[in-house]
Structures are given as C-alpha cells and as structure tokens.
Symmetry: none
Subunit: 74 residues, 2 copies
DNA sequence: TTATAATATAATGAC
DNA sequence: GTCATTATATTATT
C-alpha cells in the first residue's frame, strides 16, 4: 500500500485539515453534477475545481462521501 | 450519525450539569473573539478556556449557541 | 416571559 | 468505516 499521505493531500500526516463548509451554491452544483456522473475522472474533477473554486482533493473527498452516503439510504 | 454523547460532552446521557452563568467580562471576551473568528479550533478553544477560566466544553457550547443566535437575527 | 446554558442528534467534512 | 466539526431542535434554568 502507499503511504498514508497520498499525493492529493497537501497536509502532513497527523494534521487534520481545517474544516470548511461548502457554500450552498457549491453544494448545489456538486449535487447536480453527481446525479449525472457519480464517478468523474481526474480531468472532470479538475474542471469542477476551477469552476467552483474548490481544491481538487476536496472535490475528490466530496464525491467519495457522496457515494458512500448515497448507498446507505434505506 | 454521531454517537449519542459526542466527545465534547463529558457527562453521560441523562445527566445535566449545573447551570453556570458567565460573568460579564467572560461574555464580553467571548463576544469580542466571536466577531473575529466564529469557529475556533481546539487549540484556540483551550487557550480561551485558560484565559477566561471556563471549561473547554462550555467554550464549545457557547460558540455553538452563539452561531444559532446570530442566525436567528434575520 | 425572555435570554441563554445545556443536552442530544443529524448532516457532513476529513481521514 | 470512523472521527471531528458544524447545524439544528429541544429542554431547562436564571
């Protein structure tokens, strides 16, 4: 396995990134896109990051969380 | 899906801690700080706790309540 | 009654 | 899956 510090995570191990709440407009855009494509490739994630002004790794985390939480709806 | 009693609440469920009224000086300091930073990290909360002589979890509760009070004025 | 301290839980960001 | 932080609803006390 790779080290616990993956390439897309700029923070050193053991430090938790500052909690940032997404703005409603950003959330709306992400939800809308997720409905169309839950598994965007790196190019798409980078485009979303530019358009919404969110770091790429946050986009990645958001889609990961969204996938797992979509599944436990029952 | 947080657990019932989260980490910032050291009392077991069903037990209510004693009501504590903040002194005017403590309230003033909290309000002043809140204006600068409504979401202090754990290190900052611990510093405030030391300086104002208030337990850390009460600091946390005050900031949470202050956020909702702020929102209700609109 | 109003203000606010305190409890509990849901939603969600980060890991 | 797990933990941490924020948001919100509610209860209780001064």
């Amino acid at each position: 396995m790779a080290s616990t510090c993956t390439s897309w995570s700029p923070l050193p191990c053991g430090f938790r990134r500052r909690w940032l709440v997404l703005k409603p407009m950003q959330q709306g855009a992400l939800h809308a896109f997720f409905q169309r494509n839950p598994y965007p490739g790196i190019a798409t994630r980078e485009r979303l990051a530019r358009e919404l002004d969110i770091p790429v790794f946050r986009i990645q985390v958001w889609f990961q969380n969204q996938c797992t939480r979509q599944l436990r709806q029952s």
